[in-house]
Each structure stands twice: as structure tokens, then as C-alpha cells.
Subunit: 88 residues, 2 copies
């Protein structure tokens, strides 16, 4: 079974995010005055095979822990989506 994992990696709340602050200032300059906070991170879209959702989630979490996120300063969230096979 093929799975698509949408991974959002972002800096933790107590860590400074200068890129987010810059984007927030830019949005205010463009008159988006309703914006109260901006955080910028990395989006990673991984396709992988796994027998079921639990296995896919476990694999992707392991990828985040070992490579995709820095556990000291970053947090991550994973959304899984099953890819329908076209030639089943």
C-alpha cells in the first residue's frame, strides 16, 4: 500500500523564528493588518509503502526523528493519506 505523508516541521513555540517575524512584517506592509502571528517551517511530502496506517505512521515518525526534524528546536506534525492504486 502506498501512503502520502504530509509533514509540517516548525520551530517550537519558545524558540525565536526570525523568518516568521520577517514574513509578518512583510504582510503588514502589504496591509494584511489582521495577521497576529506567523511561524515559518518546512513542509515535507513523503510517499512510502507500508502494510497499514500504523506502520506508515511509525516509519514516518522515525524519519522525522532521525533526519527531517531537529528534536531540540523543532516539532513536527504528520498527516497520512492513502494513495489509491490505479492498477489494482
Amino acid at each position: 500500500m502506498l501512503w502520502t505523508a504530509h509533514i509540517r516541521v516548525s520551530v517550537k513555540q519558545n524558540v525565536l523564528d526570525p523568518e516568521g517575524q520577517a514574513v509578518q512584517r512583510a504582510l503588514h506592509m502589504l496591509h494584511f493588518d489582521s495577521v497576529t502571528s506567523v511561524r515559518v517551517g518546512t513542509y515535507v511530502c513523503v510517499q512510502c509503502t507500508a502494510n497499514d496506517e500504523a506502520e506508515a505512521m511509525q516509519r514516518v515518525s522515525q524519519m522525522c526523528d532521525t533526519l527531517l526534524a531537529n528534536p531540540v528546536t523543532e516539532q513536527y506534525a504528520i498527516q497520512l493519506e492513502r494513495v489509491e492504486a490505479h492498477d489494482a
Copy 2:
């Protein structure tokens, strides 16, 4: 009303993504052999005020079109979440 918008900005399917290819190679070297594709993009988390979900979606789409995404090479997806007021 306060809204949190989770924005995933990624390069379009037909545009080369060398960063994604590098991450895919790194994952294979770490023995994540089940990975078939990786795309890397930007994750932006914006908090803004709006009267309802439609208005929030319209505002955030406008931010993406004018600043957060490059319409030529990038695509974006928005997920909205209402922030519950603590002092309502």
C-alpha cells in the same frame, strides 16, 4: 474570531525539486527503503482575525497569491482551524 491557517507551499509536480531528491537519497542511505518520493517545500502557520471561515480563507489565499507562494513554480494548500477564545 481568531483563525490559524496551516499553509503548505510546495513546488509544482513538473518542476525539479533538488532538495527533495537530496532528502530522498539521505533517507535511502538511512535504510528507509520504502520511500518512493520526497518533495520539500515551505510550511507557514499564520494566525489572523476574520469574521468567518470564508473570510479567513479569502484573506489567507490572498496572502499566498501576493507573498507566500510563487505562482509560476509553486502550489499551495490551506487548512483552517478556529482558535477558541479563552476570555470570551
